[in-house]
Amino acid sequence: MKPRWENLAFATAAVFVALAFTSLVLVTAGASPFEAYWYMLKGSLGSWAKISDVLVAWVPLLLATAGLLITFAAGLWNIGVEGQIVLGGIFTTWVLRLLQDSTLSPAFILILAITAGALGGALWAALAGLLKVFGGVNEIFGGLGLDFVAVALTLWLIFGPWKRPGIGSMSGTEPFPPQLWLPTLPGSRLSLWSLLIGVVSIAIVYFLLSGTYFGLKLKAVGKNPRAAYLLGIPTTRYLMMAFVLSGLFAGLAGAVQVTAVYHRLIPAISSGYGWLGLMVSMLINFQPAWAAPVTFFFAALNIGSIQLPIVLKLDSSLSGVLQGALVLSFLLMGGVRQRWLKKHQQEASDE
């Protein structure tokens, strides 16, 4: 069909623009773009170890994005996602600390801890939701405020009540004993359990938004709350549910970071995956079907660019440049496409 070809053409153009812009940055920095891209590719997909590293980064990013797709469907900008990831990490750490000396089986403790993480994220999101629904605080402002509170809370815990024996440090809390780590594949940092959580989560979100009454009603609320209300949908309840569900997945991301990646609470526990998730959501135009591949690509860029400082003496923030350029050029092409369509339609109707 014709529109599909148009979409593809505009998407290709967007990728091209992003690559051109990033190349320009590289040339200005005195590096060869092709060499840089080559090392990024090698650094991310060049070996099984690299790929497993990408998957380790992919899971939390995928979880954050899954949650965000729910709030975006409801027309909400859940900027508080970062804080929700952090709270997921904090709650998970809390439960692990409480139970690590108990006689319960490690598997059971881990399940409890991860559930607590999900609830922590949901709680933090519910706060942003309450502020919006009952306090009239725009969710962007409320979420941003709660992000800062969450980070401050982490720092206080790490340097206060949960500090390492002796003195607190930026390296985080005392690591948990290995039996409380999510089991990883031998010789790799990748946990199949966390991979499972990520894949199941995005599948749930995809199904929720495309096949259920809940998803359709959520979309109606997001696109026109007044009409949705007249159609009999309890709008405030749906907005709150969107926040809580979104926070649940973000909290899971935090839980995975603690139990599968760092094995302790660190100050930067969210690793910025919330922000990156927002970017991905915009890039894929909020379509769940694209979430998995695009988050994988972004995770690959992150891992691939770790090589750059060592080999090319370039800063690893280059992946951020490329990611940002991609999002911007996709949004730009979206705008261009709209104009182009409008002009096209006008010409068609003039005839």
């Binding site: 259920t212 009454y213 359709l216 979309k219 696109k223 009409a227 159609l231």
Partner: protein, 496 residues
């Protein structure tokens, strides 16, 4: 200044909003412009004040043609317009609003402006505090601010679009005094209204618009019956009236009072029975919408009670009303009725009863196809709702209504439909009345529609509500006069 409008044409898509209008307005007089909603009054005035450009025709000032591209141009020619909703900046102070639009210079002459504001206000007996915030002002005061602002900018021609909507009696008196004074000073005043009594009280001559055409002019003493006929046209009948037999009461309104920021309606008592159709007539913004919304639980009444099928639903939410078989169909289709970016199919799924958690797409598609067929909607199940034409959106809105409703509340059920579709819509509505015993409560600006399809009629005038009038005991002329405010002179009547 003498204004001449010559052969003005304006189209909005297929709508001929102004059709060859030629009108001369002498200076130093108050010119009335009378017509019902959608007659083309506002369009004509927006052309004269530079907001719109005519598709054909010319405007002359003192005999010489002028060319305007913006309201700023118009004010340079000395033409200023006061819009129905004040176009000001509520979070700013009065003085700042006064100075907005001041044409040149980088530095604002604040002191000079303050003095001018105070002087002009004093001349007209307005009391405007330059340092007050505009949002704290009443609609009448905001109007006064707009008048002095336009005068300060040098306006010689002042256009007032329905200025008496939402202002108090004293403010109205002050406004009329100011208008007389301005006319005496030689300014040209154009007064747009639908209220006969104001024309009688104020205007030196009046022009009547109907369906985009200038249909007549008159001078005092006015023959009000003739004006009504010019406004609403001759009666065209649509064949026999049909009424469903009435059953037990569905809706009971007891001594209801509803308030909105502009008006208050009170003392409404009404019983609507199964199968009955009640039409609400009146100029837009006279309170019909408020009453309809209150009966759906969309506005909380300040006094009185609303009962549906013997249940007191006063103060309950719309969703509680829905559970008792009430449905509301708004006029603003894409704003309130439908969800842009969702398809026709998705709308049908949302409106239909929910079965389980997972959507049965196949069944929904089948249902949608049936409805498209039955309601003669030109669109496909997967068409985004906003891609349908206005008429088809209206049909879709009707297709979303569930069967077996007890009470159907509708704003403008046939707005935007051609005659044939309108008749078809009413056939389906009347069938609901007959077969499902649904009661219908609707507002419309089409008097013929109201007269033809209602069993009883309520007439609204600036928040006052008439007693229910049986449709068989009235006619267009009578309704037209009521809508224009005749017979509403004793407001005590409305509250027994």
């Amino acid at each position: 200044m003498e204004i001449e409008l010559r052969h003005i044409h304006k189209y909005f898509g297929p709508v001929h909003a102004n059709d060859d209008i030629t009108l001369t307005i002498p200076s130093g007089s108050i010119q009335g412009l009378l017509g019902e909603n959608g007659a083309g009054k506002s369009t004509l005035m927006k052309i004269l004040s530079g907001y719109l450009r005519p598709d054909a025709g010319e405007i002359r000032i003192n005999g010489s043609p002028i060319e305007m591209h913006s309201p700023a141009d118009a004010i340079r020619f000395g033409i200023g317009m006061l819009h129905q909703d004040p176009m000001d900046f509520p979070p700013m102070r009065v003085l700042d609003n006064f100075m907005v639009g001041y044409p040149e210079g980088l530095l604002l002459p604040r002191e000079e402006a303050r003095q001018a504001l105070l002087d002009l206000s004093a001349q007209f007996g307005f009391s405007l505090d330059p340092d007050a915030y505009v949002e704290s002002l009443t609609v009448g005061e905001r109007q006064q601010l707009e008048i002095v602002r336009l005068l300060w900018l040098g306006a010689q021609v002042l256009i007032f679009d329905e200025p008496t909507t939402g202002i108090s009696a004293q403010q109205k008196e002050k406004l009329f005094a100011a208008l007389h004074r301005l006319a005496d000073e030689g300014k040209t005043i154009i007064f747009v209204t639908h209220k006969l009594e104001e024309v009688e009280l104020l205007c030196d001559q009046v022009a009547v618009l109907r369906a985009g055409k200038l249909v007549g002019e008159a001078r005092p003493p006015y023959d009000l019956d003739a004006l009504v006929e010019m406004m609403f046209g001759k009666v065209v009948t649509k064949g026999a009236r049909v009424s469903a037999p009435l059953g037990k009461p569905v809706l009971q309104i007891k001594n209801l009072a509803v308030e909105s920021h502009r008006l208050r309606i009170e003392g409404v008592n009404l019983e609507v029975r199964e199968g009955e159709v009640i039409g609400l007539a009146g100029m837009e913004g006279s309170g019909q919408r408020q009453l309809l919304r209150a009966c759906a639980g969309l506005i909380r009444p300040v006094e009185g009670e609303i009962w549906v099928d013997g249940h007191n639903l006063t103060g309950k939410s719309y969703h509680d009303f829905m559970r008792h078989g009430v449905a509301y169909v708004p006029a603003a289709r894409l704003e309130e009725g439908l969800v842009p970016n969702l398809t026709l199919l998705e709308h049908m799924i949302l409106a239909d009863e929910q079965r389980g958690l997972i959507i049965d797409r196949q069944a929904a598609l089948q249902l949608t196809k049936e409805r498209i067929e039955t309601f003669n909607i030109r669109g496909r199940p997967h068409s985004p709702i906003e891609s349908l034409s206005g008429g088809n959106q209206q049909r879709a809105l009707l297709a979303l209504l569930r069967p077996g409703l007890r009470l159907l509340l509708m704003e403008h059920p046939t707005r935007g439909l051609d005659m044939e579709s309108a008749i078809w819509v009413w056939q389906t509505l009347k069938r609901r009345c007959r077969e499902e015993r649904t009661a219908i409560f609707f507002m419309s600006s089409d008097l013929e529609e109201i007269l033809h399809y209602s069993d009883r009629i309520l007439v609204f005038f600036s928040g006052q509500v008439s007693e229910p009038i049986p449709a068989t005991e009235t006619d267009i002329e009578h309704l037209g006069q009521l809508i224009g405010g005749r017979g509403f002179n004793t407001p005590e009547e409305a509250t027994p």
